[in-house]
Amino acid sequence: MVRIDASGLHYKELNETIRKLVDEGEKEIILDNVCGQRYIGCGLRGNDIKIEIVGTPGNDLAAFMDGATIIVRSNAQDGTANTMNRGKVIIHGDSGDITGHSMRGGRIYVKGNAGYRVGIHMKSYKNNFPVVIIGGFVRDFLAEYMAGGLLIVLGLETDESGNVVGNFVGTGMHGGELYIRGTVAEHQLGKEVKIHRVTDEDSNRIIPYLSEFCDDFGFSLDEILKKEFVKLKPYTHRPYGRLYAY
Amino acid sequence: MGCRLCEIHCITAHSKSKNIIKVFRYEVPQPVPSVIVEEKEYTTFAIQCRHCEDAPCIQACITGAMHRDPDTNAVHVDHEKCVGCWMCIMVCPFGAIQRGTVEKKVASKCDLCVDREIPACVENCPNEALVLVEVSE
């Protein structure tokens, strides 16, 4: 285990140091005094690598990451896990906009809230199956263009108007599943998604992830399951068929 | 790609007139092509005599018509000797020998266009799918 004091370090320096350590075989790195440095864990490969961030990381945390685990002790910024392929990001505070943008695999667990366009264009392929769980609320355009994977919003906190999610939920969504604990009004939905009841089968599928989420943050699974979930799924995986004249 | 032009050019090369239009307009019967195009779903290939090293057709030939050219090692049919017993057709595992149609009924097979520099099928394959490979022993 290695600790790095990130204070005053430019992101390029900090990330170069991390990459060097990983190349040398280091498995566990703790970064202290992180203050807005971007791209931490960007493109990082290796399943058994763990990076703990004390302080606030900058944008594009864990972008293109392929396997490692990153734990953020406070808030994260925009672009977290952008186009991530595998790995896990655990955020003990809030996460910014486009959390999980285009991610194809791995997990993002956020204890607090998340910004706009969470899970946008998430997709899954074969063994790659992305999972995003947000503990609190999220802003507008949740799951926009979503093509695959699993997205859960728990609503342990609500926004100014008492909502768990913003407007335009699932606009352009054509794959994957979205679960919201609590209620969502029809007017909040994009025109491509429909509300479904959660079946036992659905519960069985999502509970393992929820229980992992609870373990990571010390929540009680029973407490969380007390409140009902709704499920949102796209009408079709071909939202733009019959659009063209051939 | 299944255009079957190799068959067309094989027929022409072994015809009397050697003129592609005349062969198909006037020559009856036409020679049988010695290259056969097979097609199934997405696969297509052209098969002709492989001039096998251990050629079963030569072994089975009762007249000695089927023979190996000592210079080129290619397998040829002596049309004068062949009597059309079709033993060669019976034993060729490629199905590359056919009953000839022109004049005497004798075995017809790829002769690698002996009178041309490059076999007609190879020269005319639009996709260079057919190539002439010399195998040295």
């Binding site: 992101y11 390029k12 990330n15 971007r38 791209y39 960007c42 493109g43 944008n59 594009d60 972008a63 293109f64 392929d66 672009g79 952008n82 186009t83 392929n85 486009i98 943008h101 285009s102 194809r104 946008i120 264009h121 997709k123 899954s124 392929y125 790659n128 926009e144 263009y145 093509a147 695959g148 352009g172 054509h174 794959g175 995986h237 071909r238 939202p239 733009y240 068929g241 659009l243 063209y244 004249a245 051939y246 | 790609m1 299944g2 255009c3 079957r4 032009l5 067309i8 050019h9 592609i20 239009i21 062969v23 198909f24 307009r25 997405y42 297509t44 005319n124 639009p126 996709n127 260079e128």
Partner: protein, 506 residues
């Protein structure tokens, strides 16, 4: 009501004397336009199905077929052209967006044809490229502000650290065409040709087929808004990364590969399930500003450890110069500008034909802007969109480009006859199709040879033209607009192009 057909655009004529009923044309037409009637022992054509790809004409062993334009398909009218009327008929039938392929085919955008080149006469000597060295190698990437050298034991050492560059033996690359939009054999042809000629091909945004990995040293990988097939392996596979923002054939709009075209192998390279729509949204969701773009550029540089140049491709639009300036300032090592004639596998026709600006103007204004701002050396400019021959290449470079991308020209070298029906996926030439039966009509060995030949030929011609101008290195031509003159252009256009009218001396 019975469907009313748009009139046939083409007529397939068959010389009855020459037709030997070999049926090659019948077997080969993927549009099933040709058919054989056994009773009549005749081959006929349903002209309404003919797309004018000329494949049957090319394959006919007796030269019996002529594909000709139907002259009076629609009554001639300068304003209501046949195309306009046919389009209306199609839309009246379907109510859908008209799709089109390849580049803009309208007449009025070619500045290349109105620009002419200079040559040496008396006052300065021309150079014979056959006898004297002629340098057309060029490097794509950021150039340093200055170069520090050190002399040690009589040899000169470069002290300045140079950021990663792409070395081009000819200033021509194959532009982004994804596996999916074109066939794997077409990709292989271009990849191999790029390798043979010491230049680069571009994967497009469709991910990377495993068979193309071996060409990594001559490959640029693309990262677009759909992020299809983008993972670390992909990003590390090529020699450079290109962020695709826009494309000349469809500025401002996204891409959409319909689910029925997402077959097993396509699904594998794009990393999406079989049969789902592959939607490339119009914008990148993480880029709403130049600052956001910078973020992605550096995310990619961080991910690949600053070992590869990262470029940005945009379509040429009204604001292209300031945008390009922003891109350079955002840290791109090269900027790709794709003009209004840029090609595509599928795009709404109305966009293809009406959005964007000609590449000639875009090159000139971008080059000028970057020079004015003193940042021209910070990034290379690669231009694309309707480059047809070596003259276009040399004019583009003299207007300020470092190198060009060719797409349509490359496909034509593979066999494309510009029937512009790529979106149907039935390309008879085996290029813009995934039908295994059609794909194998393009033998990648032949394709590579032909595409490489094209580059070789252009390289020779470029050397001839350079020699004529008395210039012995392509680097000396870049932005050397004195070598160009305009014919029949307005004063303001000349000003934008930065060239003098023909007839005016230095």
């Amino acid at each position: 009501m019975a469907k009313r057909r748009a009139p046939s655009e083409f007529i397939v004529e068959r010389d009855e004397y020459k037709c030997i009923r070999c049926l090659a044309c019948v077997r080969m037409c993927s549009y099933e336009a040709n058919f054989y009637d056994e009773r009549e022992n005749m081959v006929f054509t349903d002209n309404s199905k003919c797309v004018g790809c000329h494949f049957c004409e090319a394959i006919c062993p007796t030269d019996a077929i002529r594909v000709i334009h139907n002259p009076l398909a629609i009554k001639q009218n300068a304003h209501w052209t046949g195309e306009v009327v046919s389009d209306i008929i199609k839309q009246a039938e379907t109510g859908g967006v008209l799709l089109a392929s390849m580049g803009n085919d309208k007449q009025h955008f070619s500045y290349f044809d109105r620009i002419i080149l200079n040559a040496s006469q008396v006052t300065n000597p021309s150079i014979d490229p056959l006898r004297e060295p002629m340098e057309i190698r060029t490097f794509i990437g950021r150039k340093p502000e200055s170069v520090d050298l050190e002399v040690e034991n009589g040899s000169v050492l470069l002290k300045t650290e140079i950021t990663p560059q792409l070395k081009l033996e000819v200033p021509i690359m194959f532009s982004a065409m994804s596996y999916g939009s074109i066939s794997l054999n077409a990709c292989k042809s271009l990849a191999k040709a790029a390798q043979m000629m010491g230049t680069f091909f571009n994967t497009g945004e469709g991910g990377l087929h495993k068979d193309l990995r071996q060409y990594g040293a001559n490959m640029i990988v693309q990262c677009a808004s759909g992020r299809f097939g983008v993972d670390m392996e992909y990003l590390n596979a090529g020699a450079a990364i290109e962020i695709k923002i826009g494309q000349g054939a469809k500025p401002g709009i996204g891409g959409h590969l319909p689910g029925e075209k997402v077959t097993e192998p396509i699904s594998e390279t794009r990393m999406i399930p079989v049969g789902t729509d592959a939607i490339s949204p119009a914008p990148h969701h993480d880029i709403y500003s130049i600052e956001d773009l910078r973020q992605l550029i550096y995310a990619l540089k961080e991910a690949t450890r600053y070992e590869k140049p990262v470029g940005v491709k945009i379509s040429a639009v009204h604001n292209v110069a300031p945008i390009a300036s922003g891109i350079v300032r955002a840290g791109a090592d090269f900027v790709v500008i794709d003009g209004i004639r840029g090609g595509t596998g599928a795009t709404p026709k109305v966009i293809r034909d009406n959005v964007g600006i000609p590449i000639e103007l875009a090159i000139a204004v971008v080059d000028q802007r970057l020079r004015d701002e003193g940042i021209r050396h910070l990034a290379s400019i690669v231009v694309a969109g309707g480059i047809r021959n070596s003259a276009d290449v040399i004019k583009a470079i003299a207007l300020g480009a470092d190198a060009v991308y060719i797409g349509t020209a490359a496909l034509v070298s593979l066999g494309c006859h510009l029937c512009q029906k790529c979106y149907t996926g039935k390309c008879n030439w085996g290029i813009a199709t995934q039908d295994p039966k059609l794909v194998k009509r393009l033998n990648p060995e032949i394709g590579a040879r032909r595409a490489a030949n094209l580059l070789r030929a252009w390289a020779l011609e470029i050397k001839e033209m350079l020699g004529g101008m008395g210039i012995n290195a392509i680097e000396s031509l870049r932005g050397n607009r004195d070598q160009l003159r305009g014919v029949g252009l307005s004063e303001y256009e000349l000003k934008l192009l930065g060239i003098k009218p023909a007839g005016e001396a230095w």
